[in-house]
Amino acid sequence: MTQNLIIIGAGMATGRAIEHLVENAPDAFNITLFNAEPRGNYNRIMLSPVLAGDKTYEEIITHDDAWYAEHGVTCRFGERVAKIDRAAKTVTAANGDVLPYDKLIFGTGSNPFMIPLPGHDLEGVIAYRDLEDTERMMAMGPDNKVVVIGGGLLGLEAAAGMAARGVDVTVVHIMGHLMERQLDEAAGYLLRKALIDKGITVKCAANSKEILGENGKVRALLLDDGTELPCDLLVMAVGIRPNIGLAQEAGLAVGRGIHVDDQMITSDADVLAVGECVEHDGALFGLVAPLYDQAVVAAQTLLAQDAQFVQKEISTKLKVTGCDLFSAGDFADGDGREDIVFRDPARGVYRRLVIEDNAVIGAVMYGDTADSNWFFSLIKDKTDIADMRETLIFGPAYQGGDTADPLLAVAALPRDAEICGCNGICKGQIEDAILAGADDLAAVKSTTKASASCGTCTGLVEQVLAVTLGDDFVMPAAQSVCGCTEMTHEDVRRLIKSQTLTSLAAVMQECGWKTSCGCHVCRPALNFYLLADWPLEYQDDPQSRFINERKHANIQKDGTFSVVPRMWGGITNGNELRAIADAADKYNVPTVKVTGGQRIDLLGVKGEDLPAIWADLNAVGMVSGHAYSKGLRTVKTCVGTDHCRFGTQDSTGLGIKLEKALWGSWTPHKVKLAVSGCPRNCAEATCKDVGVICVDSGYEVSVGGAAGMDLKETEALAKAPTEQEAIDLTIAFVQLYREHAKYLDRPYKFIAKFGLDWVKERVVDDLDERAALIERFELSQSIYRKDPWAEHVTQKADSYQPLANLMLEAAE
């Protein structure tokens, strides 16, 4: 006997279920299909191509009127089911019609989540879920501005679709990188870059505060930091919530979704549910692949066939043209998990595989996703990859042979394969140059220009040399930054500048880092390079700093800290000394010591007390002495003309001026200065990074001294007739050092590498360059010449306290 089957919702899941039913048992059910949207089943995921103008709505309809008619499906489109009476087994439509059922399927999908920001109910604030939303966005054109909240799959498809129509789109995303649930930081960076290339403005780590309106219509989005983003339409794509209201009212068991078993049966044996509205074994669903499986299982269950829904790995792809990305499985770091990372900066390719127990458990790919299906099947099948581990990352084409050697891949390249993208140099041209006698990198560079611009292809050029010359070519063994990369500090610094790399993720991608987030060796170096080169664009990353710099105090062997306030030029007074004495008593400081740098060290302060002791020292005007930093340390002075019978100039005054100009600046290694009032040199200026000796006719500025592991006397930089010129020379030198030195090279090492003449040309002879160096230093100081203690006291004091105190808990 034919049974009445009522289906609530003509969505992607129920569409598949109906197909399965009518194909396998055309006469088993009288199907009535309700849909709140005024239309039947269509391919919701293709709304994005419709938005972008690549498809029309007609092309994405999956079932048309003729199909429903042919298969005897009664359509009630534009009608919402209002109520269900499970005892009477009836469904009530919005217009009051009551229909009896034998079996009922819920396929009500999800509701888009709207953040309840003030103004979220203004006209012009929409979600992205159905054709109506899509049409609203399609009505926007080049004269319109649109803000999209949410940098996930949906938000980005909406943004890209509108950008393709010439709309001025801004994406506001709360997390640090886009699609953080599917992508790691590196892939997120590449995606962001691609979207920016499409003209989309991307704001990450941005908090929305309020939606501003005018006459009841949206006008702008206001961010936490006060930025206003004007817009004619605001699209919220921040997540979905299973649509379970009707099921809940009908008394079905629900959690976050409608509870179903492996047969897709709800807590009522005659009611099934499929799609995004269900919760199966604790999981919710937001992508169609598992929903299709559910639909088929539900249909089989209705036909009394044995079937079970099993959750499977799912993968994500983005349907934005030009952004090829893929992610699947679990790609978190973990012990016993191994990362294989492959980056091809020239092509913008990033691939990362996460391996556990000889199986691939996660994959993220960007740029070239051609092999994604192959990787996805390795994940799904838990294939043992032990035998292909070495070449796995290169994809299926490299398996099954002995092509593990990257040189063979280079050897196999055709002569017209482009090696150097910047200068358009092909492999053939490099081969010809080599045959004509260019037998090392430098020679190839100067004859062909290959690798002479951005330098990313250096490795490839070397491989071409190796392939062409065979044993005659010895690959140079340059010292790389650390095990995370093949690149040297010099390469990395050059690329940061030439490629405008302004984030850690950018550097790691473009420089081919082999680990996902670096290590304790490279991260502090990169953090310095970035903030030195891009003071405005880059935000200092405390997590990439050694503890001393992160907590602005020097860690001791027992985990306590030493605190050294600045004493400008070694000058102090009763007030400061009293504050130091009080602090020493108040915080039970075990040792108070006069340092070798003319100031006082409070040693043995507890980490939790740091903000409080700083606040006390701040109160009398004392600021951090940066005794912990790769930055300006001390400027030692002698008493000079103020008191000394030999003094020629105000050495104390100049020392204080220099310290006030330079403090707070970060440098490749620590920087120490001294100013002596006469050549007797009581401030020991000739063994400092920069030393000034005052003489009758002015100031002798010398650089590159040290008295630590190496003992070095300074070398004369220049003689300055005026105090101002002595200050200018010092600042210009420090900035040159900041811009070019390798991390952890003191100035004497930097000078040895570049040559004192090279330094003089820029700092002394070329007045324009000197001025430019000073200007760049000042720009950086506009951000960094601030007392970190005061900043942490007001903004971060909590982070110095324990996260929680379980003293009582553990005592129970």
Binding site: A332, D335, T515, Q543, K557, L803, A804, E809, A811
Partner: protein, 111 residues
């Protein structure tokens, strides 16, 4: 049996960073990786008792701030040529909150 106790919001611990939880038997360091996993370990380096929570977190490892030993957050094992192991405790994130296992922590206080 696990007995999860709510410790704090995940965001109170910076990504690639750590904070400590005080217990009667010394501090437990709570680490958060770039991928938002959390790990709980004794805040004591097996080398010379360095405070691991003050180290640099990379991947699923931390580098001790005192002499750069690298320790796996998952197993507590010292990596590379050095030897030793730090005790680890069950920790997880649920609904954006960090949870620790009280039974385990108490067992530690007794041990």
């Amino acid at each position: 049996m696990t007995n999860w106790i709510d410790i704090a919001d995940l965001n109170e611990v910076p990504r690639r960073g750590a904070r400590v939880v005080k217990t009667r038997d010394g501090c437990v360091a709570i680490f958060r990786t770039a991928a938002d996993e959390v790990f709980a370990l004794d805040n004591v380096c097996p080398h010379k008792q360095g405070p691991l929570a003050d180290g640099i977190v990379h991947g699923a490892s931390v580098t001790c701030p005192l002499h750069n030993w690298v320790i796996s957050l998952e197993t507590g094992l010292v990596q590379g040529e050095d030897n030793g192991q730090v005790s680890t405790y069950p920790a997880r994130v649920d609904g954006g909150r960090i949870l620790l296992d009280a039974t385990f922590l108490r067992a530690r206080a007794v041990a």
